[in-house]
């Protein structure tokens, strides 16, 4: 089982390494957001100089010092979605190429086949998430708007951030694998993915300042997995931010884990069905 999983994961990673286009395209989006959108979209300017402006800004951004800081933490949740999109498509292409059929005809268990794709599928979003954090911090040092990490370093906080990134990546990787294993046509896959992708991002707190959302929207956004992950990041990155959140990062992590488990179970079932003897 371990050997199967290792061998299949190696195959996925080799393929990823040999098709760098996928990596490059998934890099492009967050970079453009950081150096264009994040630079131009400066909410802080509206509050500056007004009486009580700073307090209002902190309230709107839930304790983040600048909108860019708030938004770049959101981008890490964002890339977990965009960088996992393609892994379900790989399943579809592998089916088209007969590779899935060959793997299903081997004694490899469906768990190993699914697991290898999940593990390999998380490498890119996790790497990208930390790249986004690094780049966002770097931009601040280049005289542009940048991510200001105001909280002091803590081991627990770092662990929580890493966990949040890993779990949100696993959740979306499972989701897109589930779709990939149950759909046969690439076109239908991309249609389904688009139908999920944007609504998920647009109902999350990844981009919008919390303080400007209507109450009903906040209710929806609170349960969004991207919001849950982003909450963990923001509470840990910004000094005093916890005062603006009803729960500590641990609770959000649990919520995120619940989402991930549901997706994982659904995806393993669908993968198992797709790999069982055909009808």
């Amino acid at each position: 089982m371990i050997r199967e999983l290792a061998a299949l994961t190696r195959r996925e990673l080799l393929r990823l390494a040999r098709n760098p286009q996928a990596i490059i395209t998934s890099l492009l989006l967050p970079i453009l957001y950081l150096i264009l959108f994040g630079q131009a979209f400066n909410i802080g300017a509206f509050f500056a100089g007004q009486p009580g402006g700073q307090t209002a800004l902190l309230l709107a951004l839930r304790g983040a010092p600048t909108y860019f800081s708030y938004f770049s933490a959101g981008m890490t949740g964002f890339v977990a979605v965009t960088a996992t999109l393609f892994i379900g498509a790989n399943v579809i292409f592998d089916r088209l190429f007969g590779i899935l059929k060959r793997t299903a005809a081997s004694p490899a268990t469906p768990t190993a086949i699914f697991g290898s794709r999940l593990i390999a599928g998380m490498v890119q979003p996790v790497g990208l998430a930390f790249l986004v954090i690094g780049l966002a911090v770097l931009l601040g040092h280049l005289g542009l708007s940048g991510l200001k990490v105001t909280a002091p370093f803590s081991l627990l906080g770092t662990a929580e951030v890493v966990l949040a990134v890993v779990i949100i990546s696993a959740m979306f990787a499972s989701l897109f694998l589930a779709i990939g294993f149950s759909i046969e046509q690439p076109q239908s896959y991309f249609a389904a993915v688009n139908a999920i992708n944007l609504p998920v991002l647009l109902t999350s707190a990844a981009l919008y300042p919390w303080g400007t959302m209507p109450a009903w929207f906040r209710d929806v956004a609170s349960y969004n997995p991207v919001t849950l992950a982003v909450n963990v990041l923001r509470e840990n990155l910004f000094q005093g931010a916890s005062a603006y959140y009803p729960y500590g990062p641990g609770i959000y992590l649990l919520g995120l884990l619940a989402w991930a488990l549901v997706m994982f179970v659904v995806a393993t079932l669908l993968a198992g069905r797709a790999l069982a003897p055909r009808d």
Partner: protein, 339 residues
């Protein structure tokens, strides 16, 4: 020990409509090279996929390597090798990496993995290309790689689904040479489907002819040909013919039978070359105008005609071969786009 492959009344109905396999029974003996011969769409791939635990059975049962293919499909996969009709090697991996993956999945002992792979690569003559991506391989190289992948764990039973499809005659002969060698060395039982009559005739110990999902004849190639009762002389007439023609033909010495087939008569006779001069003479005398006479030694073509009442045909519609070709085109297009 029971036979390594026993199929009993296998039935496959796709989507409740297409009856692809319709009550097929046969058994393959230990160490045999068993040919499953039939035209496009006959149900060969469907049968292979059921026997290898990859396709659900609509009816019947089968055991392969002493295991029930339905209840023990996972263990069946461990004991057999399967070469698909279409190319299924991973184009983004090298030949060696494809073999390494297969070795891990089929549980080849770690100690011997490297030497097994090296010797297979050499034997299949892909040693030089072992570290090249498979998408740069020629069709023949891919086929040989697929065969290497199929036998990496020294399976007891090897299934080959149209292994020589798309190869030139040289490639086909070469491929068969590997299979024969392997069988000799390892005593494997081989189940091979083909729609090349000559391949079945030359290389198989025993064959089953399948048509429209039914096995119409089983036996060694020479048994099947013997059942034809000798040569077949085909007589074509320039003016329709009629009952008189049959009487004349029947009356010739040595003639075993006369059957009308489309606009011709098939005359079975032990020695065709001796019949022809007399036949021409007799027709001349009776005023029957001949358009042509041809002599055929018994071949599997004749066998097929005999058992199905039709010429060896290629069915219409999208067959597995078409799909394989289509997939090949898609792969090529992707390969090009990727490079």
């Amino acid at each position: 020990m029971t036979d390594p492959i026993v199929a009993t009344d296998l039935v496959k109905v796709y989507s409740g409509k297409v009856r692809a396999v319709d009550g097929v029974s046969f058994s393959v003996h230990e160490g045999e090279m068993f040919g499953f011969l039939g035209p496009n769409g006959a149900g060969k791939t469907t049968t292979v996929q059921m026997l290898t635990g990859n396709l659900r059975l609509t009816g019947g049962s089968a055991s392969v390597a002493d295991l029930d293919v339905v209840r023990r499909s996972h263990d069946v996969k461990q004991r057999i090798g399967l070469v698909f009709q279409e190319s299924t090697a991973d184009p983004d991996l090298t030949g060696r990496e494809n073999l390494e993956l297969a070795a891990a999945l089929f549980g080849v002992p770690l100690r011997t993995t490297r030497s097994t792979i090296d010797s297979l690569l050499e034997r299949m003559q892909i040693g030089d290309a072992a570290d090249r991506l498979v998408k740069t391989y020629s069709g023949g190289m891919r086929r040989r790689l697929e065969l290497a992948v199929g036998i990496i764990h020294s399976p007891r039973v090897l299934f080959l689904d149209e292994p020589t499809l798309g190869l030139d005659p040289q490639g086909r002969a070469g491929f068969w040479r590997y299979v024969l060698e392997l069988r000799k060395d390892r005593g494997m039982t081989v189940f091979v489907t083909t729609h090349y009559l000559d391949e079945a005739d030359t290389y198989c110990d025993r064959i089953a002819i399948i048509d429209h999902g039914k096995v119409v004849a089983t036996g060694t190639p020479s048994e099947l040909k013997d059942r034809l009762g000798g040569d077949v002389v085909t007589v074509r007439l320039s003016n329709g013919g009629g009952a008189a023609v049959e009487t004349v033909l029947q009356g010739l010495p040595g003639v075993a039978s006369v059957t009308k087939f489309e606009d011709a008569y098939r005359v079975k006779v032990p020695k065709g070359e001796e019949l022809i001069p007399r036949l021409v003479e007799a027709c001349d005398r009776s005023g029957i105008r001949l358009a042509g006479v041809s002599l055929k030694r018994p071949s599997l073509d004749e066998v097929f005609l005999e058992f199905t009442g039709r010429e060896y045909r290629e069915d219409e519609g999208m067959t597995a071969t078409d799909r394989a070709v289509r997939i090949g085109q898609v792969q090529q297009a992707f390969g090009r786009a990727r490079r």
